[in-house]
């Protein structure tokens, strides 16, 4: 039972961002997704999490179809994510950022929290304890009552991962978790992520930091021009000539880029006229 993509496609107007990707992700492993800029890595994550709609094909988790669900339903089906640009609830404290994740499970009893103070206090205490535990794992306990927006950048990255873990998700999607982190913080992140590996959990990491990907991941898929180019272990990926070509490019690519740029200009021309 796994997370399965079946001939997944994503089309923006004329542009094909994801072009028939079929693959699956097994639990208990950390999967890396790499590829040059614009290869469709983030689109893949965003479609899985329901932030983008799926043009055609399907995404299933343990046999359950996800791509037709709304974003919050997908989240409640056991998929949690972080964002490329950190998206925390800035004016809420670090621990509140985590506590709010109990909403889907506990909103039905919210009225009891309003009318019966002892119940509310017990609930709050229980939530706080659980979240504190997660914060401690990320060494964030000292920041529990600080507004998330006021945290240092590296802590914010950690807090976002912590938030994704509150609901104990089956699938954890990490969109460039190391972006903007310094060397020391990246090492810390690697340690935490490795520790998060568990037999039930499917972890998918989109990342540009090759060192991180190669040390962290058990399996890597390489995306190129919206297609799945290669799949294998880190050492297989490093050995593959296809992958090297995709990253370094060939002589033909220069022409491709020129053509693409011309295309883009033509499109912009049309768009500008329409907008005015």
């Amino acid at each position: 039972m796994t997370l399965v993509f079946q001939s997944l496609r994503k089309v923006y107007g004329e542009v094909v961002a994801i072009d028939g990707v079929s693959t699956d992700f097994a639990p208990g492993m950390i999967h890396g997704v790499i590829g040059p800029n614009g290869a469709g890595k983030s689109t893949l994550i965003n479609m899985t999490a329901g932030s983008y709609t799926v043009s055609s094909g399907s995404i299933t988790l343990d046999g359950k179809r996800l791509d037709k669900l709304k974003k919050y339903q997908i989240a409640n089906s056991g998929i949690a994510r972080t964002y490329q640009n950190i998206r925390l609830f800035d004016q809420m404290s670090a621990i509140e950022n985590l506590e709010v994740c109990f909403y889907p499970a506990e909103v039905a009893a919210a009225w009891r929290e309003v009318i019966w103070p002892p119940y509310a206090n017990a609930q709050r205490r229980r939530r706080r304890e659980k979240c504190m535990e997660i914060l401690r794992f990320f060494d964030l306990q000292g920041y529990a009552d600080v507004d998330a927006g006021g945290l240092p950048y590296g802590r914010q990255r950690m807090l976002e991962i912590a938030r994704a873990l509150v609901a104990n998700p089956r699938v954890l999607l990490l969109d460039e978790p190391a972006a903007g982190l310094n060397h020391h913080e990246t090492a810390e992140l690697t340690a935490k992520l490795t520790a998060l590996r568990s037999p039930d959990r499917i972890m998918i990491v989109v990342e540009h930091d090759m060192d991180l990907v190669m040390t962290l991941c058990d399996s890597i898929i390489v995306m190129h021009h919206g297609k799945l180019l290669f799949r294998g272990t880190p050492s297989e990926v490093q050995a593959s000539t296809d992958v090297q070509l995709a990253y370094l490019g060939t002589a033909n690519d220069i022409d491709d880029i020129r053509a693409a740029a011309q295309d883009r200009r033509a499109q912009l021309g049309i768009r500008a006229r329409r907008r005015s």
Binding site: S51, R87, R275, S276
Partner: protein, 316 residues
């Protein structure tokens, strides 16, 4: 019947062109700042009051006569209101540009409140008769009556809109404004004078709105400090109807709204057998607004803005 048809069509065109002048200001401001300027309706009101003041000064103190005074008053008023618009942006909105999206809108509510009461204090809260800018001439066209004023309003509105079209599409400043509305951060990175573009929008928008206010007051022969609110709301409806951020959309939306309103008002008592009378005209406009937003939130000519294409950090 045919006469009635023609007359109602001309009525709708007249009102539509006034709506269009105001809707353009909303749409342009939204385009560059992604902000609803609640004080824009007040530019419409200010236009009428400033023109009235200018006119009485020109005729009374300077002794200028008739048509010349009217033209000068019109031009002076719209220019002054344009400058007021730029000033308001500098004082009330510019400091809030990096704030939450709610902040400038709340600020514009404050501006709106201040302007309405300011004019109430200076000129009195009661409606004032407004001079007609055109001599009363009626034409009979196939049984319908069309006035010279309606023709004048249509011509004035179209000249202004054509001017805007040229400004936006053929001038350097127009390109800058378009670049800023496409993406403010990118424009900034490219060294484009973003403040200049925003000032430009806050000059042209109020200028057109003021022109709309003068024409409107002249058409109905009356002005009041509170007249901006409902008209502003309708013009905003028109802007959304056409697709907010789109200049041709604002014009199209304005005419569609005016036609629905004029025809709806004419038909409502007939269709509902007198149960719903003409006083439900404004309800009709808002009902359309809600309907459009539900069926096609991007408007007729607007780009489909989904979560995917624009993800705001704080969609308030």
């Amino acid at each position: 019947m045919l006469g009635n048809l023609i007359q109602q069509t001309v009525n709708a065109l007249t009102i539509g062109s006034i709506y269009a002048l105001i809707a353009l200001g909303y749409t342009m401001v939204y385009g560059v700042l992604r902000m609803i300027n609640f004080a824009h309706g007040e530019m419409f009101m200010l236009g009428a009051y400033v023109a009235f003041l200018a006119l009485s000064l020109l005729v009374g103190d300077v002794g200028m006569s008739g048509a010349l005074a009217l033209t000068v008053a019109f031009l002076v008023a719209i220019f002054l209101v344009g400058l007021i618009g730029v000033g308001i942006e500098r004082v009330a909105y510019k400091p809030l540009r990096s704030s939450t999206r709610l902040a400038p809108m709340l600020s514009s509510l404050g501006v709106s409140l201040s302007l309405v009461t300011g004019v109430q204090i200076l000129a009195g809260p009661q409606p004032v008769a407004f001079p007609s800018f055109f001599p009363v001439v009626r034409y009979q066209v196939m049984g319908g009556t069309i006035t010279l004023m309606q023709i004048g309003i249509l011509i004035a509105a179209f000249v202004l809109m054509f001017g805007l079209h040229v400004l936006v599409n053929r001038s350097r400043i127009g390109i800058i404004v378009r670049a800023v509305s496409e993406s403010r951060p990118t424009a900034q990175l490219l060294g484009i004078n973003v403040n200049g573009a925003i000032s430009m929008v806050f000059f042209v928008g109020p200028l057109l709105g003021a022109a709309g206010g003068i024409l409107y007051s002249s058409y109905y022969g009356i002005m009041s400090p509170s007249m901006g609110a409902v008209i502003g709301l309708k013009a905003f409806t028109a802007a959304i109807l056409g697709g907010i951020g789109s200049i041709p959309g604002a014009m199209l939306g304005a005419f569609i709204l005016a036609f629905i309103e004029v025809w709806g008002t004419a038909l409502l008592p007939i269709v509902t057998n007198g149960v719903l009378g003409t006083e439900y005209r404004d309800v009709l406009a808002f009902a359309i607004l809600i309907l459009v937003l539900l069926v096609r939130p991007a408007g007729i000519l607007g780009e489909a803005v989904s979560e995917e294409s624009i993800v705001y950090k704080r969609e308030f």
